[in-house]
């Protein structure tokens, strides 16, 4: 089948080559330089850098906190999207724009605000701390700020899908005798799953790369809340560009394989929903 000739709008060749060119310049070339820089290390050095106990603990901290934040966001985000699509209430427009705020706010600002709110003497921290909930400088504070940053990804992924749902289908299910739980799990959820996976993947990937806000809410002690991006900064401080690139390559590989897995799950749930 010839690709070019059957389109209504012309310009396939031009637009494709522009896309490829921009992707090359903006994405592929920097990534390739990163890999090239890491490859100046010997295999042994590379391995020692990326597999040290400190590095392994940092990958774990990064992956586990981002994962937890993505889970939190999927739950809250689905609820927010549902409320915004299904109900009419005063202030809805404002609430809708509020969702985008984490996109626009510099993440360092978010980190600063969260760390002073949840410090032991902060507005919220002073009430939580006596209850035995410690929300400053630990894993919990990192998950909090990561879920703030990731929330819009889930909401914005779900909203259009929810809007496209017809309430007829739910009514039909109800008239056929399905109870409310069944309607949700058998009718609504399967249709939502692909969008939920997308939101999850975006939030997760965003969390893995986050640095600006984390430095304010984590205590950055090795083996506790030290994240992988901070290891890269540490290497840069020693002018070890190659070792910094080595850790970056591992992170790249980690994120890429996670995204592939999640995309596969998304594809499967999409096929399942059809």
């Amino acid at each position: 089948m010839s690709v070019n000739n059957r389109r209504i709008l012309p310009g396939f060749g031009i637009s494709l080559s522009f896309s490829v060119a921009y992707l090359m310049v903006l994405v592929l070339v920097p990534l390739m330089i990163c890999v090239w820089k890491a490859s100046t290390l010997s295999i042994n050095e590379f391995w020692l850098t990326v597999s040290s106990r400190q590095a392994r603990s940092a990958y774990w901290v990064s992956v586990s906190t981002s994962f937890a934040a993505a889970l939190v966001d999927v739950c809250i985000g689905t609820l927010v999207a549902w409320v915004l699509v299904r109900y009419e209430f005063p202030g809805k427009k404002i609430m809708d724009s509020l969702v985008d705020l984490p996109f626009a706010l510099p993440t360092a600002v978010a980190g600063l605000v969260y760390s002073s709110l949840y410090a032991h003497n902060g507005w919220l921290g002073q009430f939580l701390f006596p209850l035995g909930i410690d929300t400053s400088y630990n894993t919990l504070s990192m998950i909090l700020v990561l879920s703030f940053i990731g929330l819009p990804f889930v909401v914005r992924a779900l909203q259009p899908v929810l809007e496209s749902f017809d309430s007829d289908v739910e009514e039909a299910a109800a008239s056929l005798g399905a109870n409310r739980a069944q309607i949700f799990t058998r009718v609504i959820l399967p249709g939502l799953m692909p969008a939920i996976w997308t939101g999850f993947a975006l939030t997760f990937a965003r969390g893995l790369g986050e640095y600006g806000s984390i430095v304010f809410v984590a205590n950055m002690k090795p083996f506790q809340t030290e994240i992988a991006p901070f290891l890269i900064v540490k290497q840069l401080e020693q002018f070890n560009y190659d070792k910094a690139a080595a850790i970056a390559v591992v992170m790249l590989f980690l994120s890429f394989s996670l995204l592939v897995i999640i995309n596969y799950l998304e594809w499967r749930s999409r096929a399942h929903a059809r």
């Binding site: 032991h120 400088y137 894993t139 506790q224 020693q238």
Partner: protein, 353 residues
């Protein structure tokens, strides 16, 4: 459009794109070189010197204009010392580098040959117009009775200090703590045990000096904050009586060397004003401004005048501990060095939350 043109366009368009990029890069380069009006100098410095350089610039600019007729505009750039060194290596057009650590400035020679090998000999007094040191800041009335280094290792004392991996201040505090043991007759093993206890009792390891200040003074975490002398005064002033300074019996001599970045001034043709700018720091006026901001002037006459303010503290240079910064970096702060070992044992003694 004829069908046969399409593949040609398809191939050409990426070329156009690259061409566009190249042109815009070239043009922005041109416009940068063709500035008219005042001569511009960029001073890349570390964080705690913002106020100092602000006042030095204000004093120097009119003086230079009167002497030479050249109008100057001096821009300041402040960030972590290591980050500034990397920025200059990566192309930041800084005429002068006034960084915190010798090793950061020396990287300009070692990694990029942007300055001469004997750069410390280009200006008077080994290129040191002022020095500083690490002091303690404690809560009002010093409730935990912290008087000297050994008090930091007492149980229940929380210490705030930035990470030596990413902060010059953190490195100096580490070395000061180390020297407080080895220079008073202690062994290296005792010193290691001492710093291990300190970092075990450090609840937050901020990445930079200003972050640590916020943690201590605003979030009220910790009992003692290890910080540079000038920063200590700023912090206490700002706290309006909530904090006070403690002078330990001994501390490290902080030597923030300054240098003209030869590679940049050759290209920008700004060597004359850049050199005059740095030499101004050695004049009586410059030294007085330095003393006013609680940095220690290196001119003995001016220092003698302000001696009482500086408590005539016993300061040891880094060479009393190791041969120099290169060895200090390799021994203490590089991967697998003493600081990493300290954290290995901290994490074993105190399981992760």
């Amino acid at each position: 459009m004829p069908q046969s043109w399409k593949p040609v366009l398809g191939i050409l368009s990426p070329l156009f794109t690259f061409g566009f990029f190249a042109c815009s890069v070239y043009l922005s380069g041109c416009s940068g070189a063709k500035t008219e009006g005042p001569t511009e100098l960029l001073n890349a410095s570390y964080d705690p010197t913002r106020e100092l350089w602000g006042e030095l610039n204000a004093a120097f600019i009119p003086q230079y204009e009167k002497q030479t007729g050249t109008k100057l505009e001096i821009k300041q750039s402040h960030a972590g010392s290591g980050a500034q060194a990397r920025a200059i290596l990566d192309g930041l057009q800084a005429d002068v580098a006034t960084l915190s650590l010798w090793s950061d400035t020396n990287a300009l020679y070692k990694k990029g040959k942007l300055i001469k090998e004997n750069w410390t000999e280009q200006l008077p007094n080994r290129s040191l117009p002022y020095t500083s040191t690490v002091l303690f800041v404690v809560r009002k009335g010093n409730p935990k009775g912290i008087k000297d280094w050994s008090d930091l290792a007492k149980p229940g004392i929380e210490i705030i200090t930035p990470s030596p991996k990413t902060s010059g201040n953190g490195k100096l505090s580490f070395l000061a703590a180390w020297g407080s043991v080895t220079l008073k007759g202690g062994t290296e093993d005792q010193a290691k045990e001492f710093v291990t206890t300190i970092y075990q009792q450090t609840p937050v390891l901020d990445t930079g000096a200003r972050g640590a200040t916020t943690t201590f003074s605003k979030k009220k975490i910790g009992d003692v904050h290890l910080t540079m002398e000038s920063e200590a005064y700023l912090e206490v002033e700002e706290s309006k009586g909530d904090l006070e300074i403690v002078f330990p019996s001994i501390s490290i001599l902080h030597e923030p060397h300054i240098t003209v970045v030869d590679d940049v001034v050759e290209r920008k043709k700004t060597r004359a004003p850049a050199e005059a700018y740095l030499k101004f720091l050695y004049t009586e006026e410059g030294q007085e401004i330095i003393a006013k901001h609680h940095f220690r002037p290196t001119d003995p006459k001016i220092y003698a005048k302000h001696k009482s303010e500086f408590h005539d503290l016993k300061l040891f240079p880094i060479t009393d501990l190791v041969q120099g910064w290169d060895e200090a970096q390799a021994k203490f702060f590089d991967d697998g060095g003493v600081f990493d070992q300290v954290y290995q044992s901290v994490s074993e003694k105190q399981p992760a939350k």
